[in-house]
Structures are given as C-alpha cells and as structure tokens.
C-alpha cells in the first residue's frame, strides 16, 4: 500500500472507503451530540449566517442573468411571460441547490477543513482525547450537522433572491406584465419541483459537510498538509456536487 505509487482509481477507492467509515463514525454520534445543542447552533451560525451575504449576492446576479437571457430568448417567440417559469424552475431544481452548494464548499467548506486541520496540527484534538473527550463527537459532528442544516436554508435564500432578481429584470426593467409573469410561474411550478430542490440541498449539504470535516480531520498536521486538505475539499466537493446533481436529476425524471 503506497499512496505515492498507487494508481488514481486505487487512491480514489481507498478514499471512498475511508470516507464511508468516517461517515459511519459521524452518524453513530449524531444522536448523542444533540445533548449539547449549543455546539450545533453555533456551527449553523458559522456555516450559515456567515455565508449569507455571498449567497444573496450570487443569487441576485444569477436571477438577473436568467431574467435577461430568458427575456432575450422568449421575446423571439412572443412569449416573454415565460421568463418567470424559466427562472423559477431553473432555480428551484438546479441552479439554487447546485450553486449554493458550490459557493458553500468554497466559503464554509474550506473554513471547516482548515479549522479542524489547524486544531489537529496544534494538538487540540489530541488534547481532547487526553481529556477523555471524543473529538469526533465534540468537533466533527456539530460542524457536520451545522453544514447539513445550513445548506437547505441557504438554498432557499439563494432561490428566493434569484427569483426576485429575475423579476426585477423581467418585470421592472423589460416590462413583462407582472400578472402574466406570476400566473405563468404559478401554473408551471409544481410542489414536486420544490421538493426536488429540497432533496438536492439536503444531499449536497451532507456531501459537502462530510468532505470538509473528513479532509480536516485527516489532514497532515503541517501547514502544507492543511493547505492541501483545504484544496481537496473544494475540488472533491465541487465534483461530487455536480455528479450527485446529475444522478438526482435523472432519478427525479425517471420517477416522474
């Protein structure tokens, strides 16, 4: 077993196995960790509230672009009223969950990895073990749950702001009739579409948070090791989110 000479599939397989075992450790401690809810609330704040500004700004710009593009395309067919449908379905089903997860990986995921990695390199995790405190339960699980809980909330925020941004361009700037805009949107969007977005955001929340805490907890205890782990968090999370998005989209389409 030599990590330096093993082929990429072997390394990937080993990492998946190790991450699955780690997920098992985390899940086994989820219920006990609710005895200290303050730790989880603080992590929801750290992962969620501190990402709000970047999420809202991004949501606004994405919504505005959808408004512009949608108007440009639909006006060719004289159906500008459908701009709202495009913005709503696009955001609820794909753009909201995916872009929120990618932004979350870059903002909160890297923060989680570097924080845990630095705790490891400064012997804080070892100190906890020496105080007979399980670091997975005290450090990892609250951060994992914080990300898992924050992600759907951030996705909802992103989607709402994006819908407002699309409306701002479509209705306020381009002059689409507000009544037609909203009635077409209401007719096209089903509860199932909302549900798809919610499921995706929960799955992405679990995936990105798991990758972030895993990479931090298993980072080499050196400055370079923590840096590499942080980079891996962004790369693995991003690819994983896009892969999961494809699988979930396909699953929702086939069960329609």
């Amino acid at each position: 077993m030599n990590a330096a000479t093993d082929s990429l599939p072997v390394v990937a397989l080993r990492r998946i196995g190790s991450m699955t075992l780690f997920l098992g450790q985390v899940l086994a401690r989820v219920v006990p960790s609710f005895t200290r809810p303050a730790l989880i609330v603080r992590q929801v704040y750290n992962a969620g509230a501190r990402s709000l500004v970047i999420i809202m700004l991004s949501g606004m710009f994405v919504g505005m672009v959808l408004g512009l593009l949608g108007f440009d395309v639909f006006q060719r067919f004289g159906s500008e009223d459908y701009v709202g449908v495009l913005a709503a379905l696009g955001n609820l089903k794909v753009l909201g969950p995916v872009l929120t997860a990618l932004l979350f990986a870059g903002r909160a995921g890297t923060s989680l990895t570097s924080e845990i990695g630095l705790m490891k390199s400064t012997e804080q995790l070892t100190a906890m073990q020496m105080m007979a405190v399980d670091p997975v339960r005290y450090v990892v699980v609250p951060r994992f749950l914080g990300g898992f809980i924050a992600m759907p909330l951030l996705t909802a925020t992103f989607t709402m702001v994006a819908l407002y941004g699309a409306q701002l361009i479509g209705v306020q700037q381009m002059g689409v009739d507000a009544g037609a805009y909203w009635s077409q949107t209401q007719n096209a969007v089903d509860l199932r579409d909302v549900w798809e977005g919610v499921v995706k955001s929960l799955v992405f929340g679990a995936a990105v948070s798991l990758v972030a805490v895993y990479e931090g907890y298993n980072a080499e205890a050196t400055p370079e090791g923590v840096g590499l782990a942080t980079t891996r968090t962004v790369v693995i999370s991003s690819v994983l989110v896009l892969l999961l998005n494809y699988l979930l989209t396909a699953a929702f389409l086939t069960t329609k």
Binding site: Q124, A127, Q129, M130, A132
Partner: protein
Amino acid sequence: MIFDGLDITARRGRITAFMGPSGTGKTTLLRLITGQSYAERGSVKVFGDEVSKMSTGELFGLRRRMGMLFQNGALLTDLDVYENVAFPLRAHTRLPESLVRQLVLTKLHAVGLRGAARLMPSELSGGMARRVALARAIVMDPEILIYDEPFVGLDPISMGVICRLIKQMNEALGITSIVVSHDVQELASIAHDSFLLSGGRVVASGTPDELSRSDIPEVRQFMGGLADGPVAFHYPAADYSAELLDEAADAQ
C-alpha cells in the same frame, strides 16, 4: 525499533523525570503511557492495568484520572481561558455553574492567571498559555500529571514559575508527576527520580544528584552539555572535506 529493553517504574506520589537528547523517544514514551500509541511488544501498565488491552471506554476512564500538559499548551483556540479550564468539567460532570466557576477560578488563581480568565488563547504569551494548560490539566484533580517538555521556549521567570508549580502540585496534592524534558538544571531541582534515555534504552537512573556524579560517558555528556561523546552531534554524512571538494569540482 525505538525502545529496547526499557524497564521503567514511576512511583506513586513522586516526580519522575525522563531526560535524554532530542529524538530519543521521550514523547513516544508518553504516548505509550497515555494509550495514544501501542508498543508492538512489551508491556505498559498504569494503575496496574495493561494500557494496550484497554477498550476505548476503559482508556477514556484511565485518562480521566490523568492530566497532561502539552508542549505548546494545546489550548482550544475557539474558547477563552475560563472556558478552556472549564472544558473537562463541562464534558464529564453536571456540576452547577456556580461550582464550575468556583473550581475554575481556584485553579486559575493557583497558576496566577485568575485575572486573565476572559482572554482568548491568542492573547496569551507562551508561558501564560502553558500555565492555563496546567490549570486545565489539574481541574479534574488527576492522580497522575504528565508534562511534555514543560520548559521549552520559556523565559527564566516563566520557567521558574512552572518549575515551582510542578513541585507544589506534587507536594500539596500528592499528584504523581511524570516530566519529560531535556532541561537538566530545572529537572534536578524538582525530580525525585530520573531516567536518562539514549538510543532507545535507559542509560542511567537515580536521583538527579546521582546522575550528575555518574561516570557513564553518555550521562557525563548529557549532564555536562558536551558536543563530544557517545551521542553524536553530527548526523551521519560523507566526509566533510571530500564533499566540499566534490562540489567545487562539479561547479568547475
């Protein structure tokens, strides 16, 4: 192989010092005692129980009876001084807040940092961080206190304070202390028993005075701080002159 034929006993209620040159395995020895690492062969017993055969629950039970002072303090950086010291109490007890407060302030007062209770670890000097870590290590009233290089990087005042605290903990509370260090003078002033490790074995043991009078070459070199002796100062390398001349020839 890190250790060979090591036979060490730290007696209850005494200060036992492990000394030796850097890289000789002193910290590894502490990891074996605390169950952070396991020896492939041999036996490590604490309170009469074999550490390597303990389950995770038993190991955590053992660690509740121990306190450990880390080389850099290892304070939790997201908690202030007060919360760092209160951390083991909150993790293991359901004491009322008033009692937690009393215990934390008592321990902080003992290390002279009651006034720093609300400072964050990043606001502390190295010596202060070490003292806070000591307060945290004793807050659960452990039976064994382990110090990993407690004097490294300290100014003379902080070093004296830590030295005095280790002695006071031992005398006032009867705590069994294990100190790993290579600071001969400081250890000589506080240790009851000393073991000098070199090359993975104990080369000498006894009181610090006995060690300083020893005729064993390794002991004389270490206690006297001499560069020449059985413990090589230079890492094994090719002949110095030959290597320099080779480089000069390559450059031409």
